[in-house]
């Protein structure tokens, strides 16, 4: 009973803030509503006992991505700036399409026979850490390393793109 109330409370707030986030005319408020959605998502993970993912959600999405979006908005937007308001007709048909998509997804998910796999209930940090760096069966060391190299390449590329003109000028 208590669990159901909490679930519907979080879910309802998430839907509310998602709608606010796409319907507001101020970009910074949209970013703040998005932050609320991400924090509530972390709340969901805490609720199902998946603490590590909740921590990552808070740190990466709420503390990292949302802060970056806000900094970007801070740099380019004046406080009096407003985005143009979307006509009600567009709201209606886009909302209808989204609702149809949501209903289709829910129906499909309900049809699929999900099964509980034994031995996946333990989600402690030490288990995640061991699995992430283990070479044996069910270890994730290769994807982990590949992703870190990919991220390094992305960082270098981003710096080159951002500083490209400066380097060209220096060569002259």
């Amino acid at each position: 009973m208590g669990a159901k109330i909490i679930f519907y409370l979080i879910a309802g707030l998430m839907i509310l803030f998602s709608i606010l986030s796409v319907s507001t005319t101020r970009v910074i408020r949209a970013a703040v509503y998005l932050l609320f959605v991400m924090i509530l998502m972390a709340g969901f993970y805490f609720f199902v006992g998946y603490n590590f993912l909740a921590g990552v959600q808070l740190m990466v999405y709420s503390g990292g991505i949302a802060v970056l979006i806000v900094i970007a908005v801070l740099l380019v937007h004046n406080i009096d700036h407003r985005m143009e308001r979307i006509p009600v007709v567009e709201y209606l048909w886009k909302g209808g399409v989204l609702l149809a998509g949501a209903i289709l997804t829910i129906l499909t998910i309900n049809q699929f026979p999900f099964q509980r796999i034994a031995g996946t209930e333990d989600v402690s940090v030490s288990r995640i850490g061991t699995k992430l760096l283990s070479l044996g069966d069910g270890g994730y060391v290769l994807p982990f390393e590949v992703i870190s190299i990919l991220l390094l390449a992305v960082m270098v590329a981003a710096i080159i793109i951002a500083k490209g003109e400066v380097y060209k000028n220096e060569e002259k």
């Binding site: 603490n51 909740a54 921590g55 740190m59 709420s62 806000v70 406080i79």
Partner: protein, 360 residues
């Protein structure tokens, strides 16, 4: 010897025996919340007074000395004044975000305090990602400063907020990595287990050279995280007025002010828990008699004593060093602390792998 687990369990059982389960759970939550809010308020009062007294000590003054003996009720009077003050805001501010921003900062600080172990069993939320949770919460506090600075619609506030964003995001790396260095020895992120792992030696002794380096990096980066001098570019009085909280007054200003001091307590408490043994008394493996004598001092005293030492250190920094320029600040983090930190982690991993720490 001083184990509070039984006491807390007893209170919980008593609550469940006098009322239905649901009500008992809710009453438990409310009690814990009230206790932590009280801790929060008392911390604010004590730390502000301590700051003023220590500043006076370093500047050869007396400090507050009018209200109560040695001026110890000065901050109580200040708090009453702040509560009764008329809230003054800017007309063209974004009122929703302007009013929301202080709550981000204060809720972030309050959530961080909940995972701190004050003694064995005296901990509200012993989650298995304890330390990680604290870091995540501190990154949410940045949001309040950014939004507050922007929503005030004031040039100085915006400048302060931008500086603070750049500074806190950069120094979060150093805080995280220096803690990670010590976590290598503990093998757990849970606060109670980190303390338990220091039963024989505190980590700063156990990890000798790399642990001492990590402690120094953490102290520097922690000072920067709390926006205190020599890293107080965010609210540099002489250039920005008061930085991000220029336009705040009354209770909302008090929220920013209070959370700044509580953040200092949190950083000191993390340092005390991770490096200096938390509530664990001063133990040396093998010296049974000595350890036994040390056990007689209550763990809460040990914890608060270590935190007080760290807070004194941070205040000493504040009243000794001049403020850094923004380029010096960035250079210190990205060119010195970060590479040093990464090398230090490697060194620590090697030490742990070879078993070259004390008591191995």
């Amino acid at each position: 010897m001083y184990d509070f687990t039984g006491m807390i369990q007893g209170i919980n059982n008593w609550l469940h025996s006098v009322m239905p389960d649901m009500a008992a759970t809710v009453v438990g939550w409310v009690l814990i919340g009230a206790i932590y809010l009280a801790i929060f308020a008392v911390l604010g009062l004590v730390l502000v007074l301590a700051e003023r007294k220590i500043a006076a000590f370093f500047q050869l003054r007396l400090g507050p000395n009018r209200i109560g003996p040695w001026g110890i009720f000065q901050t109580v009077a200040d708090a009453i004044k702040l509560l009764l003050k008329e809230p003054v805001g800017t007309k063209r501010a974004d009122s929703f975000l302007y009013n929301l921003a202080p709550y981000f900062v204060i809720i972030g600080a309050l959530m961080s305090i909940s995972v701190l172990p004050f003694a064995k069993g005296l901990q509200a939320f012993d989650i298995d990602i304890g330390l990680f949770f604290m870091l995540a919460m501190s990154s949410i506090g940045v949001m309040g400063i950014l939004l507050g600075g922007w929503a005030s619609n004031n040039k100085y506030a915006l400048l302060g907020a931008m500086r603070s964003g750049a500074q806190m995001i950069s120094y979060e790396l150093s805080v995280g990595l220096s803690l990670l260095t010590v976590i290598l020895m503990a093998g757990s992120l849970q606060m109670s287990e980190i303390v338990e792992a220091q039963r024989d030696y505190w980590f700063i002794f156990k990890g000798h050279i790399p642990a001492v380096i990590a402690f120094m990096i953490f102290t520097i980066a922690g000072t920067a995280e709390t926006n205190r001098t020599p890293f107080d570019l965010t609210e540099a009085e002489s250039e920005l007025g008061a930085g991000f909280h220029t336009e705040y007054s009354g209770l909302k200003f008090a929220f920013f002010f209070l959370s700044e001091f509580v953040n200092m307590f949190i950083i000191s408490a993390i340092a005390a828990t991770v490096f200096l043994g938390g509530w664990m008394p001063l133990h040396f493996g093998g010296l049974e008699g000595f350890n036994h004598v040390m056990d007689y001092i209550p763990p809460v005293i040990w914890f608060l004593g270590k935190v007080a030492f760290m807070i004194f250190l941070l205040m000493w920094f504040r009243w000794t060093f001049p403020r850094l320029r923004i380029d010096q600040l960035m250079k210190l983090e990205w060119k010195y602390l970060l590479p040093l930190n990464l090398m230090n982690i490697l060194l620590m991993a090697f030490v742990v792998l070879m078993g070259w720490y004390l008591g191995s």
